[in-house]
């Protein structure tokens, strides 16, 4: 029996070894076919579907006691669900260290953001994915979208983007903006703001995606071509609020808008709390 087992009667990292092997096999296929959704036998987790069960199962299948885990939600380490997931792993993976520092982490589980600090080789990003099918709003039948992916037939999405431009003068998706991976698969980047999309392209880190409820995994290997869908005459433009962080003064980061009173008062602060804190500490030193 493993030395690390038997925390509260559960295996190391909660999942039983058979489930981990099943997920590990699926992850290797996902890496070998970048951007392709791989079905997996997602299990019921002690957290609800939709609250990160896919990401949690991926993290649980790769994590070891030598890892340093960071969990963020909306870019912040102290949002309630990030706290809850970090506590879960601290509880079921004895020996695992957790951190709030991007530079220290070997695994970063995230919901809705990619850290501002550039990622490096040796790091693994684990994305929580609510809806892995990028075409679902255009074609809800998954038996049909599967066929479209097999044929690399993404005309539906091209038409949708074209209509957005005709109607609004720009591509209308502000988050979860679809990307082409390795020039072959259309992929949902998860609901990250389009501001973060360019960070996926040629990232030195391995990026893994888990959708627990929809029972799909997918991956973007390091140094892989990831293009946000656009048109030559309407190139993809990542958006951020045109403001300055009230805490660290950054003008190049993704900002959260804070409502400060009921008379229209508002200010902006960095969504990435670790990056913002580091900037503040550097300024103070």
């Amino acid at each position: 029996m493993s030395a690390a087992m038997q925390n509260e009667g559960y295996n190391f990292a909660y999942l039983d070894e058979g489930t981990k092997r099943m997920i590990r096999r699926a992850l290797l296929k996902a890496v070998a076919v970048p951007g392709c959704q791989i079905p997996f036998g997602s299990r019921e987790m002690p957290l609800p579907y939709g609250w990160g069960t896919g990401g949690i199962q991926v993290t649980a299948s790769i994590v070891g006691p030598e890892d340093v885990l960071k969990v963020i939600d909306q870019g912040a380490d102290d949002t309630t669900n990030a706290v809850s997931i970090r506590r879960f792993f601290a509880r079921v993976a004895p020996g695992l260290r957790t951190t709030e520092r991007t530079v220290e982490a070997s695994i970063i589980q995230t919901r809705h953001r990619i850290p501002e600090t550039p990622l490096r080789e040796g790091q693994v990003m684990v994305y929580q994915v609510p809806q892995p099918e990028p075409l679902y709003k255009l074609e809800p039948r998954r038996a049909e979208t599967k066929r479209l992916h097999a044929l690399a037939d993404y005309g539906l999405m091209q038409v949708k983007l074209y209509e957005d431009i005709a109607r609004h003068g720009r591509v209308g998706s502000s988050y979860d903006h679809p990307v082409m991976v390795g020039g072959r698969y259309l992929m949902a980047p998860s609901p990250i703001p389009s501001f973060d999309n360019p960070k996926m392209h040629m990232s030195p880190a391995l990026q893994l995606f888990g959708a627990g409820r929809e029972r799909r995994l997918y991956a973007v290997p390091p140094y892989t071509d990831v293009r946000s869908l656009d048109f030559e005459d309407h190139p993809f433009v990542p958006l951020r609020a045109n403001g300055t962080c009230a805490l660290c003064g950054a003008r190049d980061t993704y900002l959260d808008e804070m409502v400060t009173d009921d008379r229209g008062g508002r200010l902006f602060v960095c969504s990435d709390t670790d990056h913002c804190g580091t900037k503040q500490a550097e300024a103070a030193a």
Partner: protein, 363 residues
């Protein structure tokens, strides 16, 4: 100077302490025991076992207590526990023909071998609040018992129809069925996986889908051929023994709906079956399942697929309340990053669309 909000961890701990206090309620009122739930809220326990796909009345009662009576929450608790259990084997097919029947009715025959056995049913009760139950110490007088000697054999109604050649036969198969709890569904899923999915689907969802077929969304002409409820024996064949051994008895409800079928190019006019088999005394679920099963056989029987209840992918991918409630409730999680990007794009589009109006509004 703006100070960032912190303290997620403390907030969660405090919220859960409050939850525990609320769960207990007024300490002056005696605490409810899981034995009381198990004995007196049996139908809640049965629903939790059925949709939790785990036959354990004690754990289901605990889940109901822990969830403060929120049955979907209780089902989730039981599912999350179930998924950690090691698997020792698969049972032999249940022989519901050999059921120790507590209730057995047929709507298609006035009388039949085995008889009509009403059993402990709400049917024909007058739904008047019984204020006597509000008083403590209420002990009902024992119900009269029938002579156990008679009505021993209880053949299935559908078998009787089949003997006459009027019931479309099912295709027997020795193939090992898939397992919806281990493998993601792909479509078409096929009947074995479909029935597994329905057997633990949300009762409200199944009921509404079944009801829609009765109102014409997917033509169905159902008769209750038979509903039977009672205990069946579960057997497994341990590989080291090579023969079946009994591991226990479970309560199940089986419903066989008989549906008129006009025939097709290849099939003569006959009756077709909609089948429901569920854990526990969950009759509404068994009936709903049988109607939905029949509706989902549309393609197989050459009927036009026009209604939601006939659409396999639609029904099976939305039947699970643990999935549905999780995804619905995740909308409570912070989404301010996505919302911010929506704000930016809506503002940008408005500015581009009506620069004059926006300037005026800003002034």
């Amino acid at each position: 100077m703006y100070v960032a909000v912190k303290g997620g961890e403390a907030a969660i701990a405090n919220a859960h302490a409050w939850l525990a206090e609320e769960r207990r309620g007024d300490p002056a009122v005696p605490e409810i025991g899981t034995d009381q739930i198990g004995e007196q809220l049996t139908l809640a326990v049965d629903r939790v076992m059925a949709e939790g796909s785990c036959y354990d009345p004690g754990l289901a009662a605990l889940a109901i207590k822990q969830s403060r009576g929120d049955l979907i929450e209780a089902i989730f608790l039981l599912r999350a526990y179930r998924t950690t259990l090691p698997r020792f084997g698969a049972s032999e097919p249940l022989e519901t023909g050999a059921m120790l029947v507590r209730r057995r009715i047929s709507a298609t025959y006035k009388d039949l071998p085995g008889g009509q056995v009403l059993g402990p049913t709400f049917d024909y009760t007058h739904r008047l609040l019984d204020f006597a139950l509000a008083a403590e110490g209420h002990a009902p007088s024992p119900a009269p018992e029938a002579d156990p000697g008679e009505d021993a054999a209880c053949p299935r109604v559908t078998a009787m129809l089949a003997d006459e050649g009027l019931m479309a036969p099912e295709q027997p198969s020795d193939a090992e069925p898939g397992d919806v709890t281990r493998t993601p569904l792909t479509y078409p899923a096929g009947r074995a996986l479909r029935l597994q999915n329905l057997a633990r689907g949300d009762e409200g969802f199944l009921l509404s889908m079944a009801y829609s077929t009765q109102r014409g969304y997917g033509a169905n002409h159902p008769f209750v051929g038979e509903i039977r409820q009672g205990e069946v024996t579960v057997e497994i064949v341990p590989p080291e023994l090579g023969f079946a051994i009994e591991i226990g008895d479970i309560n199940v409800t089986e419903c066989q709906m008989v549906n008129q079928f006009n025939g097709s190019r290849t099939e003569p006019p006959q009756f077709t079956r909609g089948y429901g088999l569920v854990l526990g005394r969950t009759e509404r679920r068994a009936m709903s399942m049988a109607l939905v099963d029949r509706a989902l056989r549309a393609e197989e029987l050459g009927e036009e697929v026009v209604a939601p209840a006939q659409n396999e992918e639609f029904v099976l991918s939305h039947s699970d309340n643990v999935e549905a409630t999780g995804f619905l409730e995740h909308l409570k999680l912070p989404h301010y990053v996505d919302f911010q990007s929506e704000l930016e794009i809506v503002r940008a589009m408005r500015a581009a669309a009506t620069p004059q109006a926006m300037r005026e509004a800003a002034e």
